[in-house]
Amino acid sequence: MLRFLVRRFLGAAITLLIISAVTFMLFYAVPHDPARMACGKVCTPDTLELIRRNMGIDESLPLQYWHWLSGIFVGRDYTGIGRCDAPCLGYSFVNHESVLATVQDRFPTTASLALGSSVVFLIFGIGAGMLAAVKQGKAVDKIASSASLIASSMQIYFVGPVALYLLVYTTHILDQPSYTPFTENPAAWFSGLLVPWLVLALIWTANYTRMTRSQLVETLSEDYVRTARAKGLSRRTVFFRFAWRGAMGPIVTIFGIDMGVLLGGAMITEKTFSLQGLGMLAVKSVINNDLPMLLGVMIVTAAFVVFANIIVDAVYALIDPRIRLA
């Protein structure tokens, strides 16, 4: 296990290094004047001068990257702005704020959205998929399969507003989406995020229903399941003690990757429900040409995805004893 973790963390570090280097090069090598771009749409000459000096435009690109990279570990001094302590992901000249502080500020919204909706789509998706697989070919299966096909053809930017219109603005059954920190008021946190959770989950549930169904159908036809049945175990015991373990492995893998993606910010969902999470931060940074911020969000997202993968592989081995960590 230790060897596995060490190896995977090294691999993750290398991947992140490559991603950040490539992104950095693309961001700062291609545009005509990176300082002008980092300055945003409303740019005063003073700010531009400040950025020029702090970005080290005169330096070579690898050196600029080195400054950015070393900032993460030892912090960085910005002339005229102050010190940015380690881990320093950079400074947004558009927002006049350190990238890390903004990311930390937005992350709880995104995390709440991801956690809540994943609870919903895991319960319904895996539940419906199991039901469909057990009742294969029956009416339940057909309903679950066609419902998931329809749901997976929906788009959040259409379903979201329609759900809001029906559940919030005309009937007032549910609350308008908003984010209240959980620590402040758990009830408001829950009711404010309920509609986004349900809408986001609707689309993801479809995927999980389909995957669970096909995985289980495959597992149920495997030899070890037949052996267990042949030695006289009940269908229920076979299903809950053996079959689901074999089927859940791939689902856990996909879930880990999806979780990494969701933690990086669900852009369309956040925009639809006007939630200020990492996704909206990325979109706004693009619209404002806020490159330092965008770079920060991308690295944070990449880190989530990479580490989610490691956790997934470790969990996979716990669920399915056939998998060895090597």
Binding site: Y157, F158, M267
Partner: protein
Amino acid sequence: MTDESAEKSSTSPDSKGTETRSPGQLAWRRFKRDRTGVISAIIVIAFFVVGLAAPLIAKLYGKDPYTTYGLNDPSLLGDNGLPAAPNGGINSEFWFGIDPQLGRDVFTFLWYSIRNSLLIATGITILAMIVGVAVGITAGYLGGKTDWFLGRVMDILLAFPQQLFFVAFTPVVLALFVGDNENTPTSLIVVSLILLLVVFGWASVGRLLRGQVLALREREYVEAAKVTGASPARIIFKELLPNLWTPILIQGTLMLPAMVSTEAGLAFLGVGLQDPTPDWGVMIGYATQWYQDDITLLMFPGLAMVIFVLAFNLLGDSVRDALDPKTKR
């Protein structure tokens, strides 16, 4: 349901007896018997026809998507900017109503949006398929270091949220074409959108094709071709490619609806095409600013897209059943 009928049709001997049919003809016969597939195909074709014929429809109908009828005739819009008539201003003159504030004609705007979105998505899909197929075959056929390197590139591209890549690199790609303070012409946005979605979208096809080629490369007929001294070009185009058409077609039918909703999603987020260029995502984005008061405008592009994507997904499933009847879903 479709599987059974397809199997029956292929196993039951034809009444005419021993006619020989190519695999393509067999697939076409299986497809024609699949009612869901045929209906979906008709719907999908209808969308493309309507999109391509949008200028003609606009001409016959006598309006265009750019004129702000509501501003020209203030009685069409109420004080709050919403259409004065109920249901988004639907009447005999404006069949689908007019949009709030500007009072543009929704009927023609929708067809032009579908036209632009489908053209862009089709272009992206074709280009991404070409790149994916080319890289996949190269990696699979050459193997060795090339395969290793291309494999890592695909790994990295696939491991990260594509949507974030699309969004994040839009300004970079735009900056390639346009100066810092100039306004971006629409044609350049289209070019950079296509470029971006192709660059970050081909990897899944590449990975799949690589696997297929790896399996085919070891087959006897490829070995035989090699032994007889066939050139790599001949092996790739005459021996491998004919056996890859099934996965290529299936991937294409999966990719197109995904690209339609991705492109619309970017426009919705404000980083793709911009108003007043008619586009599915632009239209939905504009409608979502107003839906709290009047949801009519949102329903036209929204439902149209759900129907299109659903029909295309069903069509994709039927194409897969027809081309590859052994696979079970």
